[in-house]
Amino acid sequence: MSDVVWKKDVSDVNDGILVGLRAPHPSFYLALSVSVFCLIIGAVAWGYQIAVGTGVAGLNSPVYWGVYITDFVFWVGIGHAGTLISAILFLFRAKWRNSINRSAEAMTVFAVITAGLFPLIHVGRVWYAAYWMLPLPNTNNLWVNFRSPLMWDVFAISTYLTVSLLFWYMGLVPDLASMRDRVKGFKRLLFGFMSFGWVGTVRQWHHYEAGYGFLAALATPLVLSVHSIVSWDFAMSMQPGWHTTIFPPYFVAGAILSGCAMVYTLVLPLRHMFRMEGFILDEHLEALIKLTLLTSTIVAYAYAVEFLIAWYSGNPYEWKIFVKRAVGDYSFYFWTMVFCNCVFPIAFWSKRIRNSKFWCFVICVLVNVGMWFERYNIIISSLVEDFVPGSWGHYEPSIVEMAITLGSFGWFFTWLLIFCRFFPLVSMSELKLIMPKPLNPTKRKA
């Protein structure tokens, strides 16, 4: 990133970013309308499922984990890039993350909230969900089973959401103070309250920087652990196709791939809507694409190793599942996953493609599609055929499940767009750190 040429300086940051908030491009309102429409479809479908019962979903023996758990794993995965960019890249001092970390963190928070809806949707009687998901004794005074990966997951996801929220909000505090200092009246009072009375003394920055570093250090193992624990939801069972030790790193790599692709998918249009081209530079987007390429390569390697392990294990059930994934009833999902996640991103090796926003956007959308199909492929193809041929079955998602999935995208994008409408999409205080420092030109000449 050393060759980045800034056309703006530190004095332009607050003006440029906050002016963009006042009057977003009309496409913002179109995007918000579409999101709200999708959200309404999903809400109606969920309401219908609650009223009629979970029978309206396509779940039946032997597949009790269908699209809802696919969606859950997909959205948790999407959240990973946010923490990777805000925490891990912070520790590695990757400067380019400063222009996109805010949008990536917002994406994480809303993606994990979206993911958290799916266990509630999946259990059907949502009003009993607390007894199944929290460490509360049931009506027989029995505690939850702490050796169950599902309980591990509850702790992992809730910790992840809380830490991501704290990280995101603490990053916002200096920017909220900047917003407070530009407005009058009630808005000033509101932003003053939200920024805790931050005034930017060096003493405050000193403790802020120390705390931010510790938060990043705590969040870094969290990035790796959360999707590892999600993968144990599968790998700790005896189901063929699931019971493998490669699952944790494979899931983490996949999560980061989908997250990076989603950040690009979001940042590119948002940059246009809020006129941030001068702050989120093409070089920053290219760095994100390089990270997507790296994780795509790791994911491709994981797919290959998974097949190798299935063959080398000598377990006929395991091997049969993998063969059927490639050539059986669900092969469409498998090959969609392979092409979207491993083949299309190969184009990113070309600098010309990396610098073409159109092709990068298209490929990143395809990666998101591919990552959804990856989860669908893992869950469905293993569940339809286990060790007992008599219990084999078939699964197709129902219209209600698909409507709720669409609604989850609407829910996610609605919150994200509302956030971007009222709060700076780029962290102003952190962006100033990667721009040329305001040094006295007369002293520099001397």
Binding site: V199, H207, E209
Partner: protein
């Protein structure tokens, strides 16, 4: 003395505004050499430039936020192991012939780890807030540009004609304001 007069005593003085980071650092270095004349001075910055943070490290010492993090994280580990063990003690659930309690410790590492991160993060935030003296509903905002692109040095209890004001101006202050 009323609250208002106490507050005004703290905020009465001079505020020197700087456009450049190196000018601000130069002024800070001079102030540190004449510290007795600049009692209670504060430096304001729009962001966390390392040049300023390094000087703050010398002035205030290493940040104490680390102790908050450590205590939070250790409490998290303790609670993360204690919670499932105590619940096992209350009513052991034997699933698949696996004995509950101390023999299931490997499974409880997850809770120890997750709560370490969770309470460590919450304690870190608490440390950042407490050590940074926020939330502060009475925070005095001397100048709106201090959170934008301007640095500031506030010296309480002096006026524009003072020796302190001259020193601040010598280091390239673009403006000098008497605050009430």
């Amino acid at each position: 003395m009323s609250d208002h007069s106490q507050t005004s005593q703290k905020t009465k003085g001079i505020l020197a505004l700087y456009k450049y980071l190196d000018d601000t650092c130069g002024a800070m270095d001079s102030i540190e050499k004449n510290l007795s004349e600049f009692k209670g001075y504060q430096v304001y910055s729009p962001t966390s430039y390392h040049e300023l943070i390094d000087r703050a490290e010398v002035k205030y010492g290493p940040s104490q936020v680390r102790w908050f993090t450590l205590v939070g994280a250790l409490s998290g580990i303790a609670i993360g192991f204690a919670m499932p063990l105590l619940m096992d003690y209350d009513w052991p659930i034997v699933v698949g012939g696996k004995t509950a309690g101390i023999y299931s410790l490997p499974a409880y590492v997850i809770f120890g780890f997750e709560l370490m991160v969770l309470l460590g993060a919450i304690a870190t935030i608490a440390g950042m807030l407490i050590m940074g003296r926020i939330p502060n509903p009475h925070a005095h905002i001397f100048h709106d540009k201090l959170t934008d692109d301007t640095f500031g040095i506030f010296v309480p209890g002096v006026n524009k004609e003072s020796r302190q004001a001259k020193l601040l101006q010598e280091h390239g202050a673009i403006d000098l304001i008497e605050t009430a």
